[in-house]
């Protein structure tokens, strides 16, 4: 079954780190990415640009509205995701717990609706 691991965290936390801590953090993500690949469970993964780079679009009363910024102005923002294919939720949770995002933010685990 496919699960989307979504990493929510406060972008200000990353900005406060020293350059060497930032490099260490990114390297941890790199190692996690490799471990997922080696285990043969990784389908796709991306880091997102900061939420300040987001633009939202919706149709309201027949008119398209385009707004700067993310959908929800919360402190924690979606920063990236891993799409994995594992046998069950237990396995997905054990990978989520290893995600560096679980330490500096929150990892939301959502099963993908199979089409």
């Amino acid at each position: 079954m496919e699960y989307l691991l979504m990493i929510y965290s406060d972008p200000a936390g990353y900005d406060k780190l020293s350059p060497s801590q930032q490099a260490e953090g990114l390297a941890a993500y790199g190692a996690y990415h490799e471990a997922l690949k080696k285990a043969g469970v990784l389908k796709n993964s991306n880091r997102l640009r900061p939420a300040s780079a987001a633009t939202t679009v919706r149709l309201q009363s027949g008119k398209t509205q385009v707004l700067d910024g993310p959908y929800a102005e919360t402190r924690e923002q979606l920063g990236g995701y891993f799409l994995i294919d594992v046998p069950d939720l237990d396995a997905a949770l054990s990978w989520a717990a290893r995600c560096p995002g679980a330490a500096h933010g929150i990892v939301e685990v959502r099963p993908v609706w199979a089409m």
Binding site: A27, A28, A31, Y32, H33, A35, L89, D90, L93, R98
Partner: protein, 425 residues
Amino acid sequence: MTSPSDAAAGAAEAAARRSYSKLIAFLAARTRDVAGAEDALSEALAVALTEWPLHGVPHTPDAWLLTVARRKLIDAVRRRRLDEAASEHLLWLAELQADDDSEPAWPDRRLGLLFACAHPGIARELHAPLMLQVVLGFDATTIASAFLVAPATMAQRLVRAKTKIRQAGIGFEVPQGDALRERLGTVLDAIYAAYAEGWSDPEGVDARRRNLADEAIWLGRLVASLLPDEGEALGLLSLMLHTHARRDARRDAAGDYVPLSEQDPARWDAPLVDDAEALLHRANRCAAAPGRYQLEAAVQSAHAMRRRTGAIDWPAIERLYDALCELTGSPVAALNRAVALAETRGAAAALAALDALAHDARLADYQPHWAARAELLARSGALDAAQQAYAQAIGLEREPAVRRYLQQRAAHWRQRAAAVSSTAR
């Protein structure tokens, strides 16, 4: 000033805490209805909270709770006709009511309850969660976090396991003779699993989880006190106390991870180490051949010797892991044996032992396997391969402090490699 209701609430909570497992064990032993016993006891506690402030706390709160809970249990059995045959139902009622005139000193059925929770008819991975809930009263959400399972799933699994105990008629009897030794192993495994989950929260971030290690030790003490001649029960308790004695030494002042061999023995909890040593000594005098927990406790004892001698007795540790490998065939024991080999015979011998394990699927996602491989590869000069193994270990680790430690080790060897190649040029 505390109000009468506060005092009553405190008394009820204290009685529940002190006697929870005893009450549940006694209530469930006859009917085998663990969920029913839990419901009845929580109803009795609710009654206590309304009645004690009005009429005062009874002289024997436990006996009071037991009487009320039993009445609730009888009511519940009377109400339930759905999934039980009528004759069985009547039998239960008769049994429950026959107990009515029993004296306040009711028999301790907790050991039986532990054996029921770790019965072979219940899925192995549920033994520890079931014990935590039934014997210690942990809620499903806390247990779910500890075992990395979704809370709703854990709640469902626990309900199913309790139904199984009731419907399959899993007994609360303590087995005798050879059967005891065989079944005791699964009870001890479950206690150790609970301990390990509590232990894997070294930063103490989750107060409830740290509690889990303490509670597992409490269970270990309970079993060791009820079965004082079982070497494995003593061995498990010794093992848990040894590791628990080091809980604070695992992090330095900055919160960084400190591996066992680099810990400052002065930071170990000395009285706890002494307790652990005394228990192991008692275990070694038991009749049966040493089992898994006694051997593992002996390994920890060899590490603990460092506080007196200043050195780790690696040859002894290697022999103990030899025995563990033979006894259990566990790949983790084989991995630890390889790590000991690195100290007694060098990195090459250790790597050869690790290569023999390389295709064991059970180690593929096991962080310590990759960390050990990385360190040994680096020490024997295979620096590129070491970096790959470090990356794998870092990617598999859950604990940020351990992840940082592994990253620092990898960086250390990268710098060494850079220094080597610059002098070569």
